[in-house]
């Protein structure tokens, strides 16, 4: 068994009694591309919050790489360790240009006050390589706030890519994208796996089918089942939590 890239053991997160995560165990290995699915409220985003330091677990351990316990670190320290995150609603720096957004994400080693004050030129080549990859090279000097929704999503993915993190947390990358954009995003994320470990949360089942190798299904804050696509599709419990809801909602009409 290789060392895991991220390992959650018995993690519980409760918000005033409501358990967003309930004794969750989760493990991912380096280079893996993992898709997490689950109905609304299953705890998918909370899972990313715990791994990226936005939320502290009420109980349990979060181990990153070679035994780094994340539970006492703050967000920027986790980012420096090599955890990059794309948020559900695209959050880019609107008043800065596309180029500047990537410039801030870049420069992994110098993110202190004086390092940024005395920094030399931006790493243009690296930034333009990523701009080409995300198809925004001709919009480099536009304000990020004036991009379309899909382009903002791309920019934020680019900001994660340029950080070159060991673990990428990608929350709903294709929301608001056209079919073609979705396909491109899938290809990009697939190409990133291997060199990086990628954890993706997504609702869009076509997208999941395109990229998924291993799928984890969350339900009520805990792992319901895990495995390759066929196994998940044929699992009666998965059908139950998805279809069961549909039955109920049909019944209520």
């Amino acid at each position: 068994m290789p060392t895991s890239i991220i390992y959650l053991e018995g993690v519980t997160v409760s918000f005033e009694g409501f358990k967003a995560l309930n004794n969750l165990n989760f493990i991912m290995y380096p280079g893996e591309l993992r898709v997490v699915i689950g109905p609304n409220g299953a705890g998918k985003t909370t899972l990313l919050d715990v791994i990226s330091g936005k939320v502290r677990p009420t109980a349990g351990r979060v181990i990153f790489g070679e035994l780094t316990d994340l539970s006492s670190l703050r967000e920027h320290e986790m980012a420096k360790l090599g955890i990059g995150r794309k948020f559900q609603t695209p959050s880019v720096f609107k008043a800065l240009s596309v180029f500047e957004n990537l410039e801030l994400a870049c420069h992994q080693k110098s993110k202190g006050v004086f390092a940024t004050l005395f920094s030399k030129r931006a790493e243009r080549e690296k930034i333009f390589a990523v701009l080409d990859e995300i198809g925004l090279a001709d919009k480099a000097w536009m304000k990020a706030g004036s991009l379309s929704h899909g382009e903002k999503q791309w920019l934020e993915i680019g900001m994660v890519v340029i950080q070159d993190p060991r673990l990428m947390l990608i929350d709903e990358p294709v929301a608001g994208m056209t079919g073609k954009e979705t396909e491109k995003t899938g290809a990009l994320l697939s190409s990133l796996a291997g060199k990086h470990s990628v954890l993706v949360i997504e609702h869009d089942m076509n997208f999941v089918r395109q990229i998924a190798r291993t799928i984890t299904v969350l339900h009520e804050g805990t792992v319901l089942c895990e495995g390759p696509l066929e196994k998940i599709q044929n699992d009666p419990r998965v059908a139950e939590i998805y279809l069961g809801r549909e039955h109920k909602s049909h019944a209520s009409h």
Binding site: K94, A95, L96, L104, Q108, V113, S119, W141
Partner: protein, 365 residues
């Protein structure tokens, strides 16, 4: 690259600097030049407010305090320069004598030296801002709560100055100076020298601030303003950046205070409290926050309007200031500079449309 217009900026900067440096002292009366010197000193403070508010998005309503610390440091030096030439012919400042003090308080003693007074005028507000910044930013105090805390600071500072009359001169403040570095303050050429020093200090402060906002740190500041919490996930700790900018901002306010006092001849708690602190923010809002030139322009415009107004209708000044602020917020959220840019972009668009219309017309023919 978006830097093409950079040399034009420097050309404009050089031209304005030359006008202030050489043309203004030749053209203006001593009285007007003194007023302008006062406004330009205040403009240095406005640069600092723009850094923290315009560029970083944190509204400070306590900059009167930092201004005051700088001003009082300079006032203490000037008061000690009076020496035995004062009302009571003692080495003790006059207000201390009538408040029953017989010995100079310890914190007054180093202020005999100009260099120490000047250094503390800049460093003491920076230190004060650093401490306050560490306390508030580390516990992630943001937005309006930061504004309230700084406003409370302004109130406390002005009350403290009033309450500690034997040491601070109380409500009257510190006034009635004679000389600076041995030169007579009543002499017009000395006042002209102070004006030149102020222009130089403003020029250096402007270049310094421009360097900050153009560096990558400047972009980090913009990111803090837009989405501070997002920035953390890129590996930046916003606390250090905010403390740094707040300290620089405080230092600039202190420098402004130190230049203001010898030109105006008095510093008192009425320069420190809540009302002046809010007024300082209005200068930046009127000029256009997030642009350094806007901060300077707004300060000079509002203060010039103020002295014009208070010469004519002293009672109406505050009403005018209030309505000015409201109309800027409502109609020109980016201030004078924003309105100018908007007009320029509009003209350019119009010109472009005209050109393309002409080209189309020629094609048809």
């Amino acid at each position: 690259m978006p830097n093409i217009s950079s040399w034009k900026d420097w050309l404009l900067f050089g031209a304005i600097f030359a006008v202030l440096m050489f043309a203004a002292p030749a053209a203006l009366s001593d009285f007007r030049l003194n007023l302008l010197g006062k406004f330009l000193a205040l403009a240095i403070l406005a640069l600092g407010i723009d850094l923290i508010w315009g560029y970083t998005g944190m509204l400070s309503l306590g900059h009167g305090v930092f201004f005051g610390i700088g001003g009082y440091c300079m006032a203490m030096y000037l008061k000690l320069q009076v020496g035995a030439a004062g009302t009571y012919q003692t080495d003790l400042p006059d207000f201390m004598t009538w408040n029953g003090l017989t010995e100079l308080p310890w914190f007054w003693k180093p202020m005999h030296h100009f260099s120490i007074a000047m250094l503390s005028a800049i460093l003491a507000p920076a230190l004060c801002a650093t401490l306050l910044g560490l306390l508030t930013f580390r516990s992630r105090v943001q937005g309006v709560y930061f504004a309230i805390i700084t406003q409370a600071l302004a109130l406390v500072a002005s009350l403290l100055l009033i309450g500690q009359q034997p040491y601070t001169g109380g409500t009257n403040g510190i006034t009635d100076y004679k000389a600076i570095l041995g030169f007579d303050l009543a002499d017009n050429s000395v006042q002209k020298g102070l004006y030149i020093a102020t222009v130089l200090a403003l020029g250096v402060s402007y270049v310094f601030c421009r360097w900050i906002v153009r560096s990558r740190l400047g972009k980090v500041l913009g990111a803090i303003r837009d989405a501070e919490n997002r920035l953390r996930f890129l590996g930046y700790d916003p606390v250090g950046f905010k403390v740094f900018v707040f300290a620089i901002s405080g230092a600039l306010a202190g420098l402004a205070g130190a230049l203001f006092v010898p030109q105006v001849g008095i510093i008192s708690p009425s320069n420190v409290g809540i009302v002046p602190s809010i007024e300082m923010v209005i200068w930046v809002a009127v000029g256009g926050r997030g642009t350094l030139s806007g901060a300077i322009l707004g300060t000079v415009l509002v203060n010039a309007a103020r002295s014009g107004f208070s010469e004519q209708f002293p009672a109406f000044w505050l009403y005018f200031l209030g309505s000015l602020f409201i109309s800027v917020v409502l109609f020109f959220p980016d201030g004078v500079i924003g309105a100018l840019r908007y007009a320029r972009d509009g003209f350019e668009k119009l010109a472009r449309r005209k050109r393309s219309a002409v080209a189309e017309f020629e094609e048809v023919i």
